[in-house]
Amino acid sequence: MRKILKMLKPYRSTLILSIIFSALHAVLEILIPVYTKYIMSEGIIPRDMDQILYYGGLMLGLTALGALASFLNTYFSTKTSVNYAMHIRNEVFSRVSHLSQCDVDKIGVSSLMTRTTNDVRQVHDVILNALKSILPVPIMLIGGFSMAISVSSNLLKVVFVAIPVLLLIGIIVLIFVSPMFSKIQKLLDKMNFILRGKINGIRVVRAFNKTEYEDERFDATNKKLTRMNLVANRIVAALTPVLTVGMYSLICYIIYLCVNDATAVGVDPQVSLETIPNMYMFLTYFMLIITAIGTVLAIAVSIPKAVVSAKRLNEILDAVSEIKDSENPVTPDENIKGVVEFKNVSFRYKPEDDGKKKSWLAKLLQKSAEKAKAKKNAENNAAPVEPEEKKKKTDEDAIHDISFVSRPGEVTAIIGITGCGKSTLVNLIPRLYDVTEGQILVDGVDVRDMKLSELHKRIAYVPQQSYLFSGTVKENIAFGNPDATDAEIWNAIEIAQAKSFVSSMADGIDSFVSQAGKNFSGGQKQRLAIARAVVKNAEICIFDDSFSALDLATDARLRASLRENLPDTNIIIVAQRVGTVINADRIIVLDDGKAVGIGTHKELLETCEVYRSIVASQLSEEVDAV
């Protein structure tokens, strides 16, 4: 929380101004009852018209000033708040942008999004509300108490006893009710979860005649939720009248006290005459103080929520990407273009090895694991398999001792079963992760010694999940090369075998791509993603299982046209299908992170058992047919 608060620093001038004006406004608000008192005691009761007009005028002036102060307070606090929120969002976004892929995967895109949007709003709302309304509260309290003293010591006693009692009632109820509300939230989540399941699995639910069962589950939760809601709401319902009655009884008592004081033996008649105005003023104050306390309570309730958000934000703000630019970057020799060399590369996912830098992530993981353990309750138990699996993974290398060289104009293919480390292997080249042991050299320089932007300049990449951005087809492809001309873009589209469908669209390359490319089929997305990589015209081109959604024929045509049009590019392909890799200069067969075979299709058929079994499972029947 402190860290987030510190980020207010650049806006301290407007913040201070807003606090000053809010205090000023509070003072002016307090003064109005004082002048009401004077208008009565100096004007109305002594029947002095001049005094009435004098104090009336003063009050109007104060009102105008109060409005001005309140306006200025709004102005400065809004200014602070919007700038502050913008600042936090900017910070969070650029931090996340600089995180490594590893960290992004670990926290999860949706969680990162919530942090950038909701958490920021949560935190800044509460902080600013607190700062805005906390200062007026002591002013009100001090003002109220001093008024009480000036009127009668008996009133002071009332204030001292009554306010803590009212506060206590409020706090007790809150302590009692707030766990109920968190239970309600949980039930609500559960109900939403049931519904989501029902909608997502609608075909299965209906096919298995499980509609009634799902309905019963829903009903049960709905009933529980309603019951809980009723209890909580009714307790709150009782609270309001109790507080109202308590407050008004106090008012009656205060009136009684005032009258009693005024009629005590030996009281100066002039003082007695002021009883009504004093009483009136005091009652007004009493109400102001109660309202102020209500505000503080409301803020206090919202603080725990903000603290949770702040913690989540801090996790990001404290995060240091372990993948950083080298301090003394080396630029590769200009004559070497497009050579990738793996030298005894090993890699393991190991949170504990990242030391201090990643302790926040380790903690995060630990926490979630602990939480899962704590909730042994079957319903809420979130996937305990995951930490177990992760543990297993961290025990052993995901990639173990791999060496090979891939040169310009060559095609290197990596094949193996899911989870054997193919994607991990290629993701090490653009430093989405850093190797644990060994080195990767691009153009003769260790990738860790190169500037990231220099390294990335040399690499074009098509990810496993072909992701498109909102915008036009042209924008998406030019993502790879902002200076690309329309002709270059069309050329890339042609190489990627995407011309037929792009040109058949009404707007051609200016056609709209919706969120995540939802208006394109899987195969179309993949081809556009390939065009995006092609247009970059990089020395090294990595395809991470990028042909899976294409039919075999398109796959073959695409690979042929890639080779033909990018003769000097070093192409690295991750694939599942033997057909995709069959013509590669070098096939690396991965099994459980180890290279069990490196060679051409022919060589491997003879030497590599794993490769043979893969080929057998895919090609046998086709071979039969031919």
Binding site: I52, A67, D215, A238, E621
Partner: protein, 647 residues
């Protein structure tokens, strides 16, 4: 890093703001909920008709809140009496001056009595407000409970076309967010409006009742003005708030894309550009949020000022009445006012204007909950699937003969899909459906399971028209393994015995063994009691598929529907899946949606679909001999000679 941020701060960001915002317009989630209510009146009327079953409770709430408000309106009058009594006594003492024994001048008993009746009044108020809150909470909770129940039942009875036409996100948001929105605002807004109106009328009545029109005017003359301002300002600020939500939506869009495409952004060196764009959108948010908040923030000072001006006016005019002359002119004022009455007018003045503020703040809430209610009603009004016809309700499970007789079906009236289609599958036959993606292969499944109803012709199960039996009885006969493996949050065991509630552990294990997943399950620390995450995301796609196969095996159906999609599964797991599927098909009538042609060569009947229609039908040999589309499709696997237009 901070260094680079500072540098960037000073840089002029030249990306086009409006373009960025419009690009992500579809991300603006808030837009819908703030949109105008199409038929506000109709929705409101319908909404209140939901209250009918609770009419008694509603009347109690109304009566108690009317009572509560009336008492609070009357209270200042009692207070006025007390003040007058006290003042009277004190003045008597001061001006008629008997110095000693002050108490004798003050009619203490009267004042005590008045105090007690005031206290009693407050007591009544408390009880009334308790009843109002207590019963009110009951009504709104029950109402929301029923609404949820209705929506849930509706979802169970909607035809599948509804779920195919609307995105899941949309439906879920309707069910979850909209109902929540309705329930959150329901009680509060309704009571605020009700008590507000009573308070305005009541305090006006009390003021007029005192017979002093001039004082009444003094107390309220600015209220029409402040009311108009409140209305106008909230209108303008609403416009800006919707702009604000628009820019927030744009930010969500940008953030989602950049985070999802994180590795691309990095490798294509787009970090700077992405951060720049974010800053542009962020500045836009700042502007919209500043203007929106400023405009709505102006309202409060203005309203407070109006209230205070009325207050001071009451003080001054009241002073004139108390003294008896108009200011210092000496012109007599007709009718005098006591100090207590002036004080009462002060109370009424604020009572009259307070609801204006609170109702104007409530208008947005009411609108948004009406919009939500309207969307919920829309869902409730969707046409349900045709009711079950149980004319030929079968007594027991079918043997497994399936026949399509001259079946025609189209999703859209003007797009012909399946025309006059006939097919007979004897018990134990394998029917394969092949064709490129999007050819409508799943349509056959949809019709068989009656997810959609055919438009003409008949589908017969063991000779009985499936339209003449209940959907449940029909589906009892089927087992299904879909490409879209659906697992729910629960244990593996629960997921496997989803179709069969009373399955024993042995049965479950033998199903898992046949599905080649038993060994994997046993390798997990908790075995069959391992918890799966929502959608089964904590195990791999292939394992998910195997579990759904085990699920179908356990159900032991006569007829099987298999969607053998294995694109994201590695070869080894695929072999396991193939084996399991072969095991599953033994002795059952099977409909297989095939993606790899090599696996279906021994099917008894192959249906070839293309561009939504059935183009060929026959055995593998027949189709190859025919040398048509199937033959081309089949050969293209090996030669790479498939034509481009196939998609």
């Amino acid at each position: 890093m901070s260094k680079s941020v500072n540098v960037k701060k000073d840089r002029i960001l030249d990306a086009d703001e409006t373009y960025l915002v419009s690009k992500y317009a579809s991300y603006d989630t808030k837009k819908d909920s703030d949109a105008k209510v199409g038929n506000a009146k109709g929705t409101a009327v319908r909404f209140f008709s939901l209250l009918k079953p609770h009419w008694f409770a509603v009347i109690i709430v109304c009566l108690s809140s009317i009572g509560n408000t009336l008492v609070s309106v009357v209270a200042p009058d009692y207070m006025a009496d007390i003040i007058d009594s006290v003042q009277h006594s004190i003045e008597n003492y001061v001006y008629n001056g008997t110095p000693v024994n002050f108490g004798s001048f003050l009619d203490f008993d009267t004042i005590l009595g008045q105090l007690f009746s005031l206290g009693a009044l407050y007591g009544i108020m408390g009880i009334m407000s308790f009843i109002q809150q207590y019963v009110g909470a009951g009504i709104s909770q029950k109402l929301v409970f029923n609404l949820r129940q209705q929506v849930n039942n509706k979802l169970s009875n909607l035809p599948l076309s509804y779920f195919d036409k609307n995105t899941k996100g949309e439906i879920i948001s309707k069910v979850v967010n909209d109902i929540e929105n309705v329930s959150a605002n329901l009680q509060g807004s309704f009571l605020t409006v009700l008590t507000g109106v009573i308070q305005v009328i009541g305090s006006l009545y009390m003021m007029l009742n005192s017979g002093n029109i001039i004082m009444t005017l003094a107390a309220i003359f600015l209220v029409p003005f402040s009311g108009t301002i409140a209305y106008k300002v909230s209108k303008i600020s609403k416009k800006w708030f919707s702009k604000y939500w628009g820019s927030m939506g744009a930010m969500n869009g940008h953030v989602e894309e950049m985070y999802s495409g994180h590795s691309l952004v990095k490798i294509f060196n787009h970090e700077e550009k992405s951060i720049d764009d974010f800053r542009v959108i962020n500045r836009n948010i700042r502007k919209n949020s500043f203007v929106a908040n400023m405009i709505s923030g102006i309202l409060n000072p203005i309203l407070t000022m109006c209230k205070n001006i009325n207050y001071v006016t009451v003080c001054i005019i009241g002073g004139c009445y108390y003294i008896g002359t108009w200011f210092n002119t000496g012109i007599a004022v007709s009718g005098a006012l006591s100090l207590g009455k002036i004080e009462a007018f002060l109370s009424y003045s604020s009572m009259f204007s307070a609801p204006i503020t609170s109702i104007s703040k409530m208008i947005n809430n009411i609108q948004s909950s009406l919009a939500s209610a309207e969307r919920v009603f829309e869902l409730l009004d969707e046409e349900e699937q045709t009711p079950d016809n149980t004319e030929n309700e079968p007594e027991e499970l079918a043997n497994g003969t399936v026949e399509f007789k001259n079946v025609s079906f189209r999703y859209k009236e003007d797009v012909p899909l399946i025309e006059d289609f006939s097919l007979k599958a004897e018990k134990g036959n394998i029917v394969a459906i092949v064709g490129p993606t999007g050819a409508g292969k799943t349509t056959i499944v949809n019709l068989l399971m009656r997810f959609y109803d055919i438009q003409s012709g008949q589908i017969l199960l063991d000779g009985t028209d499936i339209m003449t039996m209940s959907r449940n009885a029909l589906r009892e006969n089927f087992g299904m393994v879909l490409q879209d493996t659906w697992l729910f949050k629960g244990t593996i065991k629960e997921n496997i015995c989803y179709g069969v509630d009373d399955a024993t552990q042995e049965q479950i294990e033998s199903a898992a063994k046949s599905a080649n997943i038993h060994d994997y399950i046993m390798s997990l620390p908790k075995g069959y009691d391992t918890q799966l995450a929502e959608d089964g995301t904590n195990i791999s796609q292939g394992q998910r598929q195997l579990i759904t196969i085990a699920r179908a095996l356990l159900k032991d159906p006569k007829i099987l529907i298999l969607d053998e999609a294995t694109s994201s599964v590695d070869t080894r797991t695929e072999v396991l899946i193939q084996q399991a599927m072969q095991e599953l098909m033994k002795g059952r009538t099977s409909f297989v949606i095939a993606h790899r042609l090599s696996t279906i060569r021994n099917a008894d009947n192959i249906i070839v679909m293309r561009k939504g229609t059935i183009v060929e039908q026959g055995t593998h040999k027949q189709l190859i001999d025919k040398d048509g589309f199937y033959a081309m499709l089949y050969n293209s696997q090996f030669t790479g000679g498939i034509p481009e237009d196939i998609e």
